[in-house]
């Protein structure tokens, strides 16, 4: 049996109970999102006034809303949107957070100015800044992604910077410098791969925050514009009818919870296995 480090890590992850639970929860949502066009037969925006306020049944697994729209279709398409937004925010963070963090940690001249800007952006309460940005740019999926990226990139950059700072002082990096390796090469071959563990952990938690914050924004009416279904706007519309038709808010609410919890458990598991030193940051 070959025992490459990567394989050993994966084996340890698969033995980690919380990680596996988290993975399973997240996979549920991921599968729903990926298969949305095939597992929903009814258009999520199709109105059917005669079928309004149907509780979950054989015909409508998740019931219908105040306009008779299928909640199964709506939540599954909502899942797709949540996952898309989450992935976009994570990718943007992985690129720009790493870039800013690596530059800031590696080049002393860049550190102070970049980190002051970081501090300023982090001083804003996360949701307030996201709201401010989407308010200015107008509510739309792209703008939500942009807002979430702006809000969270400084946090990612800070984590990358911290690991780069530690690494920069390490002997093998200094040896590479002494051997005359260029900055770009050192960053690419030594610094970035070793800053990866904390970054991966951060990104899985970030995915959770992104999904949660997006839901909050669209609950407030600042996300994707109706009738595009998002978990947040389904819940916002269902709020008026939460007594007569509690399933309208409960179903997307529970799915949202499953997603966030799955990602949090995933992050905990990754942290335990990849980078036990981070445990203190909970």
């Amino acid at each position: 049996m070959s025992d490459s480090p990567a394989r050993a890590t994966i084996r340890r992850l698969l033995r980690h109970r919380l990680f596996v639970t988290g993975l399973a929860l997240f996979l549920i949502v991921l599968v729903l999102a990926a298969l949305a066009p095939w597992i929903t037969t009814v258009d999520p925006t199709k109105l059917s006034i005669r079928a309004k306020f149907k509780p979950p049944s054989m015909d409508f697994v998740f019931g219908t809303d105040n306009l008779g729209r299928s909640l199964w279709s709506r939540t599954v398409w909502g899942a797709r949107l949540s996952v898309e937004i989450g992935v976009a925010v994570v990718v943007l963070n992985a690129i720009f957070g790493t870039l800013v963090g690596a530059i800031s940690g590696y080049f002393r001249w860049a550190d102070a100015p970049l980190m002051r800007i970081n501090d300023a952006l982090m001083a804003f309460p996360a949701i307030l800044l996201a709201i401010g940005i989407t308010a200015v740019l107008g509510p739309s999926t792209e703008n939500v992604i942009l807002a979430l990226a702006v809000v969270y990139i400084p946090r990612t950059a800070r984590i990358v910077r911290a690991s780069v700072l530690v690494l920069r002082e390490m002997e093998y990096v200094q040896a590479a410098v002494a051997a005359g390796a260029g900055h770009a090469r050192i960053l690419r071959t030594h610094v970035i791969p070793n800053a990866l563990a904390p970054l991966i952990v951060q990104l899985s938690f970030l995915f959770a925050y992104a999904v949660l914050t997006e839901a909050t924004l669209s609950f407030l009416g600042l996300g994707a514009v109706p009738p595009t279904p998002t978990w947040g706007n389904i819940m916002a519309e269902g709020r008026q009818y939460m007594i007569e038709a509690p399933w309208i808010i409960t179903i997307p609410g529970v799915l949202l919870m499953i997603t966030v919890m799955g990602l949090n458990l995933l992050g905990d598991g990754l942290r335990d296995v990849l980078d036990p030193r981070l445990r203190l940051q909970a």
Binding site: R116, V136, T216, L220, L256, M261, L280
Partner: protein, 315 residues
């Protein structure tokens, strides 16, 4: 101490300055013509021009910036379009409501979060620990607006114990305040309880392993002093750092919680400003709230020094 305060204040100044730049820049990012956006679709060109003039958007950017900073220095953040009032005073009026709610939620968070975290650490790997950490995981995973909705369904509508929304100031009726604030405060607190319990647990586990805890036991101190004094006092230092973050999260959370429970605080003010395209209000409110949070974090830094003599005596 005084020296440390000055140092931290000096550190806060550039952050505040940049925060003001971001707030100012935000409004200039509006695509197209902000005056038209504010005036709405049915506005006549004259109305648009009027708004443009009123907001000074017809001026060059530099003039606008000078105007904005000139106003800032006098505590003038502009005038709310929706309310027709000064942004500063509208914010200040709502501030006590949000502060009272946040303080209530913070108190719940500290008591329950630290309590659960310490208990979990002392009973590491037992069912107590696992149960506490499971609840904490739930806490950081349930969106607070969903929790708020569930609370309304269960406790307000179902059981009829508490009102579904609205707000009574503490100064008008402490009991009324308690009734109207409890559901919002608890739904706000849950996320933070989860965070704090997790951090407290891992910090306590770390601290309980330290040599000085063994010393405290070796000299025959009773358990409540070993844990409650020697261990907890040290654990409080990293925990304090988190309090700054928690306050920021509480303010963030108040946006949706206040909207949900119809509480006339800053969160609700800003949400309606955003939805009503009241840009001066959004910009000024954002700046004011963030500036206050920077001050809170300054206070937390000072608290840090109170707790840790090694920082207190730093030259």
């Amino acid at each position: 101490m005084g020296r440390l305060l000055l140092l931290r204040l000096a550190g806060a100044v550039p952050v505040l300055l940049l925060v003001s730049v971001v707030s100012f820049g935000l409004m200039r990012l509006i695509p197209g013509d902000p005056s038209a956006a504010i005036a709405g679709l049915s506005a006549t060109p004259r109305m648009v021009a009027q708004i443009r003039e009123q907001l000074g958007l017809d001026q060059p950017l530099l003039t606008q910036a000078l105007h904005w900073y000139g106003g800032l220095l006098q505590g003038d953040l502009g005038r709310s379009i929706l309310l027709g009032q000064s942004v500063f005073w509208s914010t200040m009026q709502r501030l006590p409501v949000t502060m009272a709610l946040s303080a209530y939620a913070l108190a719940i968070t500290l008591v329950v979060g630290i309590g659960a975290g310490v208990l979990a650490a002392l009973r590491q790997n037992t069912w107590v620990d696992q149960a506490a950490m499971m609840v904490a995981m739930l806490g950081i995973s349930v969106p607070n607006f969903f929790l708020g909705l569930l609370f309304i369904i269960w406790f307000a509508v179902g059981l009829g114990w508490l009102p579904t929304g609205g707000y009574i100031a503490f100064t008008d009726s402490p009991w009324g305040w308690f009734q109207t604030s409890t559901m919002p405060a608890v739904s706000l607190a849950l996320l933070n309880i989860g965070l704090l319990a997790r951090i407290t647990r891992s910090t306590m586990l770390e601290v309980l392993r330290q040599d000085y805890v063994r010393t405290a036991r070796a000299k025959g101190l009773p358990r409540h002093l070993v844990v409650g004094k020697h261990a907890l006092a040290n654990a409080m230092i990293p925990i304090t750092t988190v309090v700054g973050i928690i306050v920021s999260l509480l303010v963030s959370g108040s946006v949706v919680t206040e909207t949900l429970f119809s509480i006339p605080g800053i969160g609700q003010l800003l949400t309606s400003a955003v939805l009503g395209r009241d840009y001066p209000m959004v910009q000024g409110g954002l700046l004011l709230v963030t500036a206050l949070l920077v001050l809170v974090n300054l206070g937390v830094d000072m608290l840090y020094a109170v707790l840790d003599p090694r920082i207190r005596y730093e030259r």
